[in-house]
């Protein structure tokens, strides 16, 4: 039997952990908050996007 890390990830898990998904969700949130004049939410989601842009950078 293959070790966990050697088995291919399931299709659902792979889809839910797609690296583009957090970007899409945060981008939608930032623009929607800006359009709704939700200042705090807009800045906070822009901050989150900035954090996510450093993905993998240590």
């Amino acid at each position: 039997m293959l070790a966990a890390e050697a088995r291919p990830a399931g299709r659902l898990r792979r889809g839910l952990t797609e690296p583009l998904l957090p970007f899409a969700a945060l981008a939608l949130l930032a623009v929607a908050a800006a359009a709704a004049d939700q200042v705090v939410m807009c800045w906070a989601s822009v901050g989150a996007l900035a954090g996510y842009s450093l993905s993998g950078s240590v």
């Binding site: 957090p22 981008a27 800006a34 901050g47 954090g51």
Partner: protein
């Protein structure tokens, strides 16, 4: 490393993720608090000038990310030493997360953090908005670790590397669009 499927330490990986994420949030919050204090210096500048400057910075951020212009930005060009994780895993993960969360202790490989930091300095928002933006920065960094952990597969790193150019450029454009929409209304 911290969240790879090959974890062998005697501490549960989910605990390490929680402590690491807490550190990221605290680090981002601290940096934003400093930015809020400094942003008072921009207060005497007229609002339209500050808005123009923020959007100019946003445009330059997009151009820099796309490689159209070369603008050297200050960064602490070194990695956080691995020793912080060697002896006390939980405390080390907290420290590691905190240092990463501040955004000033290691490499900054994208333009968006500079745009947001300069935007906060120039916009001189209230303390809640500024500080929560820093907390949001920590959340954004924690998302990477959480999704990496949830993927339970090393192949996720390859997907991340493949998607990063699109993500980094997309984030640059989105930050500019969101701030333009917010500030020009």
């Amino acid at each position: 490393m911290l969240f790879s499927p090959g974890w062998r330490a005697p501490v549960r990986q989910s605990q390490v993720l929680a402590v690491f994420s807490l550190g990221l949030l605290l680090g981002g919050t601290l940096s934003a608090t400093v930015l809020w204090l400094l942003s008072g210096l921009a207060a005497p500048v007229p609002g339209p000038v500050r808005t123009g400057a923020i959007l100019t910075v946003g445009v330059l951020g997009v151009a820099r990310e796309a490689g159209w212009v070369r603008i050297p930005m200050p960064q602490n060009a070194r990695q956080i030493p691995q020793e912080v994780l060697r002896y006390r895993v939980r405390r080390g993960a907290l420290q590691f997360g905190f240092e990463l969360g501040t955004g000033v202790r290691t490499f900054v490989s994208a333009s968006a953090p500079y745009v947001v930091a300069l935007g906060l300095l120039l916009a001189h928002q209230g303390p809640v908005t500024t500080i929560l933006t820093g907390t949001g920065f920590g959340v954004g960094r924690a998302v990477t670790a959480t999704v990496r952990y949830a993927s339970r597969h090393d192949e996720w790193d390859d997907r991340r590397v493949t998607r990063m150019p699109l993500v980094a450029n997309g984030i640059g454009v989105t930050v500019l669009a969101a701030l333009a929409l917010l500030l020009l209304r």
